[in-house]
Symmetry: C2
């Protein structure tokens, strides 16, 4: 017997009651019942994002909602500052370029975060920038950004703060309104404990001011249409993935029952324990400012990182994620966001220990597990 | 006891084994298994669309794939011909306008189809048009277009033929390659027997020639990215709704087992029987050139059409669709596409008879049902 266990930073495990909800017969998406469900999902997302603003539900990948942020906010030729620490920061750049924005990039080296100091510098040098784009949790390296500090920098400036929270929302502390985030994007398939297919986006009044003076260049991602449909309905402008919306309601109810601050604490605690385990095994953490959504481990120079992950999956059923692009084979990415409890992660640590020992690395079996237990119990 | 039965022209009923597949645990979307599944889905869609071209899988509503067609094919300022017979033709117009196309519209009155003659005329007058956009099945009125004849008109012209087949593909005969369709769009939630959330688009070599000379103005809907990911994978450029893809495979297998020509025949037979029932009840069909995906009935002047539908749902659980916009309350739309058998439709006819009688219309109970049976048995 070998079970399959998913530790990729998206998709993540989905609670059983959410899966079962997905198997219920499909209903009509314009019914009163569907509108009530959408209303509940929006309220649940407002709670999770910590915002009073409506949250728009898009049927798309997270990238679609990122594109919605760009096309609604930035006119061709306008200057924006990009705080990028990896692949998902680069995703912003790709979209911004496709829409003709002038991108001033503040780049962090792999494993480093963009600091508030460097962002402040860029804002001084480029006071004509209309927006700052950045990433809450850079899953390509495991870095988390200090979004609260970024928000402070922008509070009294014209530029809007746009945050890709796809991988962090529902795992890491993030308070849209209190922190001064103007556009916050997330997706269903990470800490919101759902399959992929839905993306979410909320906009502050300051964000809407910018949108209203920016020419429309899009149709499906035109946020005015979502605002109108939600206000008139609650409804969506286009046929939504309504079975996913229905299931998202249940996953959001879970987060509400637990309490969002407790959810953030739980992830922080798991992350701390996981980092302790990694270090007890003599391995190095890749992220200098680690996010609590996932733990990224530098592969020891003596090992073929991709081969270890393949063995981990083949022999024991644990699916971790490899590095991407130039980091392939160089890092292991272990997600502990969403529907994950301590014993799930503990199992992954134990399996990793076994595979590392079999791969010729000198590891004391149980050392990581014990460190995990100690750190988890510490408070 | 009252069962809920869905007869809206999207979403439509989903086979039980497809629903159950949706409840299976979520997997990683970049695995070899996920690639194999996507490959099978693409092959199944090629069969259903009757094309040798790759079919791209988008995580979006059908409108998203329509936008992909527009933004990839048409540069701002270019002239296109729009053959429109209702709301979904108007959807093309909305997207085309958002992208700055010059739209020459060939409009059919509600319930009428755009004829090949009128399209030929428009093509003569506007030989500089780069594309013709139209709709296979206009579900707002129940009209089906003669796409084969449209294809003939364009075969030796420069302009490409772009067809919204969202509501028709998998129900009505449509042969992308043989009929000379250059871009064909469809969606998961109609005759493909799935929940909403996925859209599909295929492009002919002639279509790709046009795309390759058109500036990219988009990111998420940039078809070059889908072409590359599919060729390199099979994969998608962005995290797809992978549980829906897995389930779509099962629904496509059903269509393949039955055989696509048999599927088209089945829908035609259901539609013929349904039309016979409507006429036997003394009601009038709304579409002059009816599609076989749904039957649209004109509401007798003495009745409040919306009230009848509400009663039909409240008393008997049958959910038909009202008219939209100016047709609200004026027509009833009964879908028989996808996972629908004769006795499903027969039940809907029987329930409609009961409600009509209760609403004061003079109907012979059973007259519609008997006509349905006779027409269905006729061959």
């Amino acid at each position: 017997m070998k079970k399959s266990r998913l530790f990729t930073p998206g998709p993540t495990p989905v609670p059983e009651e959410v899966l079962l909800e997905l198997a219920r017969p499909v209903g009509y998406h314009r019914s009163a019942e569907a509108k009530a469900i959408l209303g509940e999902v929006v309220a649940g997302l407002q709670y999770v994002l910590q915002t009073q603003q409506p949250v728009y539900v898009l049927t798309s990948s997270g990238t679609g909602a990122m594109e919605a942020a760009v096309t609604n906010l930035v006119a061709a030729g306008e200057k924006v500052i990009l705080g990028t620490a990896g692949r998902w920061g680069e995703r912003w750049r790709g979209i911004l370029r496709a829409y003709g924005a002038e991108v001033v990039a503040v780049e962090a080296a792999p494993g480093e975060a963009v600091t508030p100091e460097r962002l402040a510098e860029a804002l001084e040098q480029h006071s004509d920038a209309v927006a700052v784009f950045t990433t809450l949790c850079e899953t390509s390296t495991g870095v988390g950004h200090d979004i609260a500090a970024f928000g402070q920098l922008l509070r009294h400036r014209r530029a809007v703060l746009v945050v890709d929270g796809i991988s962090g929302i529902g795992a890491m502390e993030c308070r849209m309104d209190a922190w001064g985030i103007d556009v916050l994007v997330t997706g269903s398939q990470k800490a919101l404990m759902m399959p992929p297919g839905l993306a979410y986006i909320a906009v502050s009044p300051k964000g809407w001011q910018k949108i209203e003076t920016t020419p429309v260049r899009n149709f499906y991602f035109d946020l005015r249409r979502y605002r109108k449909a939600l206000a008139d309905g609650p409804d969506t402008p286009f046929t939504p993935a309504n079975t996913l919306i229905r299931a998202q309601r249940l996953a959001l109810e879970r987060l509400r029952r637990e309490g969002i601050e407790q959810v953030w604490c739980r992830h922080e605690r798991l992350a701390r324990a996981c980092r302790a385990a990694v270090q007890a095994l003599g391995l190095e953490l890749f992220a200098r400012r680690p996010a609590s959504a996932l733990t990224v481990i530098r592969v020891p120079a003596s090992l073929d990182g991709s081969a270890v992950l393949k063995k981990l999956e083949k022999d024991f059923g644990f699916k971790l994620a490899d590095g991407q692009d130039t980091l392939k084979g160089k890092i292991w990415r272990l997600s502990h966001m969403g529907y994950v409890d301590p014993f799930d992660v503990l199992g992954a640590i134990a399996a990793l220990e076994l595979v590392l020992a079999q791969s010729g690395l000198s590891v004391a079996l149980g050392a990581g597990v014990a460190a995990f237990q100690r750190a988890y119990a510490a408070e």
